[in-house]
């Protein structure tokens, strides 16, 4: 351990020397941002849904800003480890967090002791993308819409799977139960894939999960989508009905955004936000729409703050109502 620190120390001295040299060479460095690679902390493992959103944006932003945007996957504890690390990072405009609905809105209600404060420790840069939560059923379930599902639930017990306790899928399921009065039993899984497998095999009847994880099965006819949780229908699955259209007051989305440590200069935050809106129409980012994501998200800072406030309130209530808290 001490050896390790010694090494870090030496590396740090070398790096400091380098930075000093750079600072001398470019006295107006403050005005020019970015002058070195930007680190984006992804608080979930590589290959997961959050990583899938992060990679195309990182690629497009690297090209736009002419500086590499490097992803650092620091998974664990529902994203709290990575989010806490980002909150404690130097606010120099070179470290950002890829925050999620989990790290910024659900976790404060879920974890009694959170190592970071999603409101005080961060400045919001931009919301990147959102995904409606889909209610999907095994094709053998004799219900093709919400009304038929409600009737079926009167006759026999129905179970719904989710990617785990406190995930957007689970909580949307709980919100649906409250709003519709339909009785369902929640069966938590360790991630989307095992839940989807049990649903395909008919061991559970239903599942609530962000659309992009189940879209392939729906398109292949292996699952049927009963409703989606967005306000409007989505381009990737135009036939899907929303909960609101079906008369159930449920409107939720899983979402991903970029957040900066609280003391980061406003000028850099604004510049980064501009870059993010600048890359929205690039092909790599547009491809996210094909997998079921929504790229139309709130933009000006007042709308953003209102959105985040409403989200924290909505999910916080869902956590408390479902009794999903972790202790």
């Amino acid at each position: 351990m001490t050896k390790d620190q010694g090494m870090t120390h030496r590396v740090a001295i070398v790096l400091l020397g380098l930075f000093a040299a750079i600072a001398h060479a470019a006295p107006e460095a403050q005005a020019v941002w970015p002058t070195r690679p930007i680190k984006l902390i992804v608080p979930f493992p590589a290959g997961g849904p959050t990583d899938i959103v992060a990679r195309p944006f990182a690629e497009a932003l690297s090209a736009f800003l002419k500086q590499p945007v490097v992803l650092e996957n620091r998974g664990g504890a529902g994203g709290t480890i990575g989010a806490a690390a980002a909150a404690k990072s130097a606010p120099d405009g070179y470290t950002f967090l890829l925050g999620t609905v989990g790290t910024q809105a659900i976790n404060p209600a879920l974890y009694p002791k959170l190592a970071y404060n999603p409101v005080k420790d961060f400045k919001t840069v931009a919301i990147l993308a959102a995904a409606p939560v889909a209610l999907v059923a095994n094709p053998a379930v004799p219900a093709s819409n919400i009304a038929e599902l409600a009737a079926l639930a009167e006759k026999r017990p129905l179970r719904f799977g989710s990617a785990g306790n406190g995930t957007p899928g689970h909580l949307t399921g709980e919100l649906f139960k409250t709003a519709s009065g339909v009785a369902l039993t929640h069966v938590p899984y360790r991630g989307s894939a095992p839940a989807a497998q049990d649903l395909l095999g008919g061991h559970i009847e239903l599942m609530f999960d962000p659309l992009q994880s189940v879209l392939a099965y729906v398109k292949a006819g292996k699952l049927q989508a009963l409703a989606i949780s967005s306000a409007q229908s989505v381009a990737a699955l135009p036939s899907a009905v929303t909960f609101l259209q079906a008369g159930v007051k449920v409107e939720t989305a899983a979402w991903w955004g970029i957040f900066a440590p609280a003391e980061t200069p406003d000028a850099i935050v604004a510049q980064f936000a501009k870059a993010i809106y600048g890359v929205r129409d690039t092909a790599v980012v547009k491809a996210l729409e094909d997998i079921g994501l929504l790229l139309q998200t709130p933009r000006d800072s007042r709308q953003l703050e209102e959105f985040l406030l409403a989200e924290r309130e909505k999910w916080g209530k869902a956590v408390r109502d479902s009794g999903a808290g972790i202790d």
Binding site: G47, A77, I81
Partner: protein, 500 residues
């Protein structure tokens, strides 16, 4: 005919210059780390995972798979020449392989090991190609109740086949199960044994645990040894085994291949169990068991074929069910997810070129391994002349890099070092770490599926016996437990490993 068209689809996908190169590279790297004591496929694959991010998924998987079965081959070379198992599955190879080398028949031993492995690899590849489709159909019928019973069988098998003391094996499994409890419980969302550390809320890192118990502990234990190794480089003898050797090895190779293929499919199976079981079987079938440990060719040919067949068929549960049967397969799941491939029954239909390409690459990888191993033995042996005082620090650094790279966590590196010391104590106490690791991997999955099955059945425990697949598996478990309790079987099991 479908088998042929599928295989040709696979070979079409694999026979590009890039894929052949990664297949070769994987086999080469695997052989290298197999030859080096301490560094196993788990550490290597974990380390090389980030390197494969930029590759197309098929190339990445081909390379990682090549490392895995390459390590089985490389391990035998060191075991035969210097009595050092480069790999845990080549522990039994030391027994008779090294004895053959001392009799000046190192060439024959290496030749039999290579040819037996190649035969087993070819047979296992064909088996995967032929049986994977029906198995995938079957896999969707596995619900939580079936998975629970399957995991239970895996755990019992792990205890039954672990070598050394029976009660120590049970104790190690129990310890593994306990370690597996750490973290947030999936069903209730309650934190267990995390001591308020957020780093532990997803459980103990598997890579940190395995790297500590195997890698770091091995290095610590070797520090005690004086550098006094006999290396049989001068007299390797003819590489080709005699006609008489081949005749004696033929049946053990066939039996080893069958046994290895079957055990590889079971969760908790794989190369290590296969080689130990094959050795037990050969010894029991031999007319003169006293020759074993003194250079019996059957004791080399059987386990060598079995470990390679097992290494390969352990891909079946991964490819058709998304269920990792051992540590290496668990890492392969991670590798597939990174490339956007969710392991499960749908891989075969949605990504046929990937599925069959990987299978075709297994045979090619085995072919490369024969090409590599026979002529390059001289070079491998020279590598072993690197003094331990230089080799071990390098290996230790690699281990730390591997652990850190999994989730960029210094905590996990500390955890690996901690488990290194624990593993050293285990070695001193004569406790096998393998059952612990299996308990650690299978335990949480078993608990999760048990509780999920109960939730789905609304608390009715009879579900495990009314569902036919689950019931069959549980009956097998009971049979195995009875066999273990039968004193004579236990005695046979113990004498089989006394030389070890």
């Amino acid at each position: 005919m479908e088998l042929l068209s599928n295989l040709s689809l696979g070979f079409d996908a694999v026979l590009t210059f890039q894929n052949l190169w990664y297949c070769f590279l994987g086999a080469l790297l695997g052989t290298l780390i197999g030859v080096l004591p301490g560094l196993g496929p788990v550490a290597t694959i974990a380390m090389l995972l980030p390197v494969t991010y930029g590759l197309p998924p098929l190339s990445a998987l081909i390379m990682l798979a090549g490392i895995y079965y390459g390590a089985q081959y490389g391990g035998s070379t060191t075991a035969i020449l210097v009595n050092l198992p480069g790999e845990s599955s080549s522990v039994v190879t030391c027994l008779d392989g090294y004895a053959m080398a001392r009799q000046g028949r190192a060439g024959a031993a290496l030749g039999i090991a290579a040819l037996g492995s190649f035969f087993a690899g070819t047979a296992a590849t064909l088996l995967i190609a032929a049986a994977a489709s029906p198995l995938a159909e079957f896999a969707l019928r596995f619900g939580p109740a079936e998975y629970f019973s399957l995991m239970f069988l895996g755990l019992i098998t792990a205890v039954a086949l672990a070598h050394g003391d029976f009660f120590k094996a049970i104790a190690m499994v129990a310890l593994g199960l306990t370690l597996g409890l750490v973290g947030i419980d999936v069903n209730s969302g309650v934190e267990r044994f995390t001591f308020g550390l957020p780093e532990l809320s997803d459980g103990v890192s598997f890579v940190a645990l395995s790297m500590g118990l195997f890698g770091v502990a091995e290095i610590l234990a070797n520090l005690e040894l004086r550098e006094k190794r006999e290396v049989f480089t001068q007299n390797i003898g003819s590489l080709l085994p005699s006609r008489q050797d081949l005749r004696a090895a033929f049946k053990p190779v066939l039996r080893g291949t069958l046994l290895g293929s079957a055990l590889g499919i079971l969760p908790g199976g794989g190369a290590v169990l296969s080689s130990f079981t094959s050795y037990t079987l050969e010894k029991r079938l031999a007319k003169d068991p006293s020759r074993f440990g003194k250079g019996a060719i059957e004791g080399l040919a059987g386990p060598e074929s079995a470990n390679n067949a097992g290494a390969q068929t352990s891909f079946i549960p991964l490819l058709v069910m998304g269920l990792p049967s051992n540590a290496v397969m668990a890492l392969m799941v991670g590798a597939m997810m990174i490339h956007g491939v969710v392991p499960g029954p749908q891989v075969m239909t949605e990504r046929p070129e990937l599925f069959w390409g990987l299978i075709a690459s297994m045979w090619l990888g085995n072919f490369f391994l024969v090409l590599l191993n026979l002529p390059l033995i001289g070079i491998w042996v020279r590598l072993l002349k690197v003094p331990y005082r230089l080799l071990y620090p390098v290996v230790l650094v690699f281990c730390c890099v591997g652990v850190y790279s999994v989730s960029n966590s210094v905590f996990d590196v500390g955890l690996a070092l901690f488990f290194g010391f624990v593993g050293y104590l285990f070695l001193k106490l004569g406790c096998e770490p393998a059952p612990l690791l299996l308990g650690f991997v299978l335990g949480p999955m078993m608990e999760e599926n048990l509780r999920r099955a109960m939730l789905l059945a609304r608390g009715d425990a009879s579900v495990f016996f009314t569902r036919p697949i689950s019931c069959t598996l549980l009956v097998l478990c009971i049979a195995l437990i009875l066999l273990l309790a039968w004193p004579q079987a236990r005695k046979a099991r113990e004498t089989a490993f006394q030389e070890g």
